[in-house]
Symmetry: C2
Subunit: 184 residues, 2 copies
DNA sequence: GCTCCCATGTAATCTGTTACATGATTCC
DNA sequence: GGAATCATGTAACAGATTACATGGGAGC
């Protein structure tokens, strides 16, 4: 079976939900996958075109009164097969997440103590904000989509985000303490 | 002050250590920054050329008997200034790490239970391997570079990696349990 | 009149990986 | 003789972001 890139599979996956157009795919990803997958229109539209060329989906144009035309994409049996085949494959390797904070701290010798503390405090705040966002998303999923079969899996991915974020916040707290109490 | 990309700053930072050539920069990054920053020769050499063009470093070619010529790069005062200025700047936003496992689990409805379990077990194993690698690096830093001023900061970044990895492993354990005990 | 939301798309640019090309030395 | 290490570099490609272009409708 032919191999596609991750973006293609991500869109194939989203097309299994109620999101059928480029615009709503973007919205859905921004809302629910945003913590581990981002995508821009510059990728979405060309990829949708490609998916149709490959026979993985079919387009239907629907006209709505008072709204622009919408291109709606529906997975073909081949599209569903392709998605399922990819889902079963184990991942090759865990990616290295590029972390600017760690890069800066790595060269901490060339920075003042104050600067490092500010940097970490700022980062910690951003992580806490992110954690709050996760809680909000969790509320939405639990309350509005209680019976949705997908909800269970969406909550699993959220749980991952929450756990990792908490670990990072704890690290900030610990490292700040070390910096403030440390000799020098 | 002119803005450069992260790769440029990363290399500028590495040039503060004993690594002065493209080859040894690659080695150093693979050994010590690998868990949060990767880089390939295809980036290193062009970036080094660029850094010289910008007046941030100067080259010196050293001939060694029995070894190929080496281009050694030394930061100029402007280079050090540029690095320091960047280090002080807070990060704009926390990046979204793309996570293939989460993407696959997000579409868990289209996968068999067995497949999901295998996927998570495989991921967990990879995380455990990574954790072991972190422990090895930690040993190297603590024993061989005890008095190195940089060591302290290197250990901070490692600690981050360890904490986040443990959180991810715990999540795997929990999610596997949920999948195995869950109804259906 | 202005802004926001809906909706689709392209082009330029940036960032990064992989494969290729070269060539000397050392160790088995 | 062959593999590994040292060492530098380029070209092709892949992946992704940003800015731009277009245009209607709703609400203030």
């Amino acid at each position: 079976m032919k191999k596609y890139n991750h973006t293609t599979y991500a869109i194939l996956g989203i097309l299994t939900t109620d999101c059928k157009s480029g615009y709503s795919i973007k919205q859905q990803i921004d809302q629910s996958l945003n913590h581990f997958w981002k995508i821009s229109y510059g990728q979405i539209y060309p990829t949708l075109k490609f998916i149709v060329e490959e026979g993985l989906a079919e387009v239907q144009t629907s006209s709505n009164i008072g709204k622009p035309d919408r291109h709606e994409y529906f997975l073909t049996p081949k599209g569903i097969e392709t998605l399922k085949a990819w889902l079963e494959q184990p991942i090759e390797q865990i990616p290295t997440e590029r972390n600017e904070i760690l890069l800066k701290l790595f060269f901490g010798r060339y920075q003042s103590k104050e600067s490092k503390v500010l940097l970490l405090e700022d980062y910690k705040r951003k992580l806490q904000d992110r954690f709050q966002t996760y809680l909000s998303i969790e509320q939405v999923i639990t309350h509005y989509q209680q019976n949705h079969e997908d909800a269970r899996y969406w909550l699993f991915t959220l749980d991952y985000g929450k756990r990792v974020t908490v670990a990072a916040i704890d690290w900030c707290t610990f490292t700040l303490e070390q910096l403030l109490n440390g000799e020098e």
